[in-house]
């Protein structure tokens, strides 16, 4: 019986790793692109304010934009993770149901 439990645990870990490994590289790439782009955007705004290309009105607009893009960066990550969670959930539920002999 304990061998069965060990086998189930190993199988669950394999299924989880399989789903997560594929998605983590996408998430990592997206995060790196976004962090770099938001940092560059901040530098452009600073430079534009300093040389007068960005006036008071545009300054407020771009600062609001920075806040909105940062918030949505986090929300996009949450959205992506939800898809990953769904894939993980469905893969594990299918496996567990098969393990107890139920056909979904």
């Amino acid at each position: 019986m304990s061998e069965n439990v060990a086998k189930i645990i190993t199988d669950i870990k394999d299924i989880a790793s399989d789903v997560l490994e594929k998605d983590i590289s996408t998430i990592r790439g997206f995060s790196e692109r976004q962090v770099e782009a938001i940092a560059k955007q901040t530098a452009i705004i600073q430079k534009g304010i300093a040389n007068g290309d960005i006036d008071e009105d545009l300054r407020e607009f771009f600062l609001d934009g920075l806040e909105a893009m940062t918030l949505n960066f986090v929300n996009t990550l949450k959205g992506i993770l939800m898809v990953t969670l769904e894939k993980l959930w469905n893969a594990l539920v299918t496996f567990l149901y098969k393990a107890v002999g139920v056909v979904i």
């Binding site: 304990s2 534009g48 960005i54 949505n72 960066f73 959205g79 969670l85 539920v93």
Partner: protein
């Protein structure tokens, strides 16, 4: 099987496994936690982002308000395209499954915030449309200076990346 498992696994891991297994049994089916993939949205984003990037390339170096009338139709087209994408992205029904409710209940009992059915792509499309509206207004009044143009472009690119990444990822 689970009782025997208790003696060999760490209590925290055992409880997590038991919680997951219980939710799986109670919800009794596969879950849908995110909206459906929509090929039409992805195609329209690709088309609209091409138009946007070509427009930024034409404006390279900034604009003068005197020639605004030549750009006005492109601004209108871009604002309309992204407003329409926002509506299309939000029109999809939010997933509302028993599994999501159970997961949220579990997350909240552990002190974590619940997963909500948000559309980050719709928010991004809305922000892109607002960026082009502001750009249009600035262009018509004073023209756009080079660094302001770069900032407008950067803002659009960042929101586009968020929308495209999210929409593409929905293809399971």
């Amino acid at each position: 099987m689970l009782l025997e498992c208790h003696s060999t696994m760490k209590p925290k891991l055992y409880l997590s496994f038991l919680a997951f297994f219980s939710i799986a049994l109670f919800t009794a089916c596969e879950a849908t936690l995110a909206p459906a993939y929509d090929q039409a949205i992805v195609e329209r984003v690709t088309e609209s982002s091409n138009l946007a990037m070509r427009f930024f390339a034409e404006l390279d170096g900034g604009t003068e308000s005197e020639s605004f009338f030549m750009r006005q139709p492109t601004y209108n087209k871009l604002i309309g395209a992204f407003e329409s994408l926002k509506l299309q992205a939000r029109a999809r029904p939010l997933p509302n499954s028993a599994a999501l409710e159970k997961i949220n209940a579990l997350l909240q009992s552990k002190g974590s915030s619940a997963i909500t059915g948000e559309y980050p792509s719709a928010f991004a499309f809305e922000q892109i449309a607002a960026t082009f509206s502001k750009m249009k207004q600035t262009d018509s009044e004073n023209g756009i200076k080079p660094l302001a143009l770069q900032a407008f472009k950067g803002q659009v690119e960042i929101f586009l990346d968020q929308a495209i990444t999210y929409e593409s990822f929905l293809k399971r």
